[in-house]
Amino acid sequence: MWARAVLLLLRTPVGGRRGFTSKADPQGSGRVTADVIEHLERLALVDFGSQEAVARLEKAVAFADRLRAVDTDGVEPMESVLEDRCLYLRSDNVVEGNCAEELLQISHRVVEEYFVAPPGNISLPKLDEQEPFSPN
């Protein structure tokens, strides 16, 4: 019986229905301004590196925009599927540790018991002060 129903579904013209893998409309929303791009690069500490990467973000945003069509009035956001269960908390006792040596060995630069970072408090240069993008 189910098979017949599925068959009927198949026969309905595909054009009207939007298959869920159809591509995002490249002309649609999802335009990202230069300001936002610069802001994102700072936040993510990752640069776009190329115009294609910006185009990829715009496509990703246009894709995400399809969610706007869903009516979510009165729906609570879901963070975890275990939301109805108590989160397990172990008792606050030290059960392992004393592995500082081991952990420090994994780092590229340490001095005594410290990880070494270059000077802080210097922000990344603004985009227009930067060297032009160099592909890796």
Binding site: A5, V6, T21, A69, V81
Partner: protein, 527 residues
């Protein structure tokens, strides 16, 4: 011996037909012979042999640790392994040797299993082809199977055979290939949106994604914390149940594992399916689904129906938004998770020392591939103050609707859902790379990711070979924490369909010539 299931080889070990060391050596030698598949990133030959020796001692003394003692296994290279490089197939973690074992790895070692090595994947498990890792793509063993080659020979066009190798699917493609090519008896994968089930379907093996919260994620390098689950790849459903029995249960190092006691189970042989209700979600019939898979899907449903099960069409109305929702939640969690890779404490560090921020930025540029950087940037976009409500919170709301769709269906009396695992069979690499990673993932995760958002157990079971001679898998989805019921039904189905064994062994003899040709082919592809 290597073609056997875990259970069969375990019996052979107990009866002394083979020793753990012999078994280990056979697997190691097959790993070497099948190196051209690129399934393994690291082979831990020395460690495995040592573990085999210890296992052999135990067998001699009659003190075997159980069904897994002496059984070779492989682990996806995004699980931490003490003393063994763990790379996530990324420059960011090349050379990183964790000081501890992931809980799931430790549990297998504690049972006496032999760790053969770490398997290949898409960088940080982001992908659906196992083509986007820094160590190169994984090749599907079925590309070299007698079944596929014979079908290809019948075709008139004389394309170069060896440049037409197929992808494994992903992101746990190395693990699926390792099990499929008989180099181990079980492999661990991870499953965030289908990364275990998708390659299992393409490689003709069983791929289990357990319920979220049943198996510890401690030591699994996270992609999306609220959806990641360790996955199990085996040659049959019984084996997956055996391994789940060892892995499942509360871990005090992972607060998201549930505390309910878990008892390992042996799957019963179902003889009567007449009390079962199988749901067929109508939204999974999409225009993009290959007609061959569609007809196998109906055949499977008819099989249940003809044996007396109730098979009904059900609706999961928010299905079409699921992949979009997944995309937003995944990139957002990725953006936050990947913040840990800064070059300071572990992993890659660039040479720039002008400032901390410049060091971070350059390290991350050098360490991550385009796909990872792309997801980090998209995720950061969705998390911007002005976008947070419209994208991230919106997606979380849609997630609840998707999870509720499943709850409603199961409350209506459905025991398991039956769906395809993938839209089509494995495609040649040259076809696959024509589309970008995001588009590919949006297509390939289509039937699998909703399950992750709802935290449900699901298993892909190989059903039959396509006209091309390639495996096709179907997916069963169960109620949360009803993994045993799910596997019991999957086992019944597996027994009915009798999926053919890959005829790979014969190919091994001339695989050295294949390897030579392959090298040339992959060089020209990579450019």
């Amino acid at each position: 011996m290597l073609g056997r299931t875990l259970r069969e080889v375990s019996a052979a070990l107990k009866q002394g037909q083979i020793t753990p060391t012999e078994l280990c050596q056979k697997c190691l030698s097959l790993i070497k012979k099948t190196k051209f598949l690129n399934a393994y990133i690291t082979v831990s030959e020395e460690g495995a042999l040592k573990q085999a020796e210890e296992s052999e001692e135990r067998y001699k003394k009659g003190q075997s640790l159980g069904d897994l003692d002496g059984i070779p296994f492989a682990v996806k290279d995004n699980f931490s392994t003490s003393g063994i490089e763990t790379t996530c197939a990324s420059n960011m973690l090349k050379g990183y040797v964790p000081p501890y074992n992931a809980t799931v790895v430790q549990k297998l070692l504690d049972q006496g299993a032999l760790l053969m090595g770490k398997t290949n994947l898409d960088e940080f498990a982001m992908g659906s082809g196992s083509t986007d890792g820094v160590f190169g793509p994984v090749k599907n063993p079925w590309s070299y199977s007698k079944q596929y080659r014979e079908k290809r020979k019948q075709k008139p066009h004389g394309e170069n055979e060896d440049s037409n190798w197929l992808i494994t699917g992903g992101s746990s493609g190395g693990s699926a290939a390792a099990v499929s090519a008989f180099t181990c008896f079980v492999a661990l994968g991870s499953d965030t949106g289908g990364s275990t089930r998708n390659p299992a379907a393409h490689c003709g093996v069983v791929g289990l994604k357990p319920s979220y919260g049943l198996v510890s994620r401690h030591g699994l390098i996270p992609l999306v914390n609220s959806m990641d689950v360790p996955g199990i790849l085996t040659r049959c459903v019984d084996d997956a149940a055996t391994v789940l029995g060892v892995l499942a249960g509360h871990d005090c190092k992972d607060s998201t594992t549930i505390q309910d006691p878990f008892k390992p189970f042996i799957l019963p042989n179902l003889t009567d399916v007449s009390k079962l209700c199988i749901g067929i979600p109508k939204e999974y019939l999409v225009p993009e689904l290959s007609s061959e898979i569609q007809s196998l899907w109906s055949k499977a449903a008819n099989l249940f129906e003809s044996e007396g099960a109730k098979v009904i069409e059900v609706s999961l109305p928010h299905t079409s938004y699921s992949i979009v929702c997944y995309h937003v939640l995944c990139t957002s969690e990725v953006a936050s998770n990947m913040a840990r890779f800064d070059g300071l404490e572990y992993g890659h560090r660039c040479d720039i020392n002008v400032s901390t921020e410049a060091m971070y930025a350059a390290t991350r540029r050098e360490g991550f591939n385009d796909v990872v950087r792309g997801r980090i940037l998209s995720g950061n976009f969705f998390l911007l103050k002005e976008n947070y409500e419209n994208y991230f919170v919106k997606a979380q709301k849609v997630r609840r609707l998707i999870a509720n769709d499943f709850v409603n269906v199961f409350n209506s009396g459905v025991d398991v859902l039956l769906t395809p695992t993938t839209l089509r069979e494995a495609v040649p690499y040259v076809e696959f790379v024509k589309e970008d990673n995001r588009t590919r993932s949006a297509q390939d995760d289509i039937f699998t990711q909703a399950v992750n958002m709802a935290g449900l157990p699901a298993v892909s079971v190989p059903m039959a070979l396509s006209n091309q001679g390639l495996p096709i898998g179907l997916q069963f989805i169960g109620r949360a924490f009803c993994d045993q019921q799910l596997l019991t039904i999957a086992k019944w189905f597996e027994k009915q369909v009798q999926f053919p064994v890959i005829q790979f062994q014969e190919i091994m003899d001339d695989c050295s010539s294949v390897f030579e040709n392959e090298k040339l082919a992959s060089v020209s592809l990579k450019q």
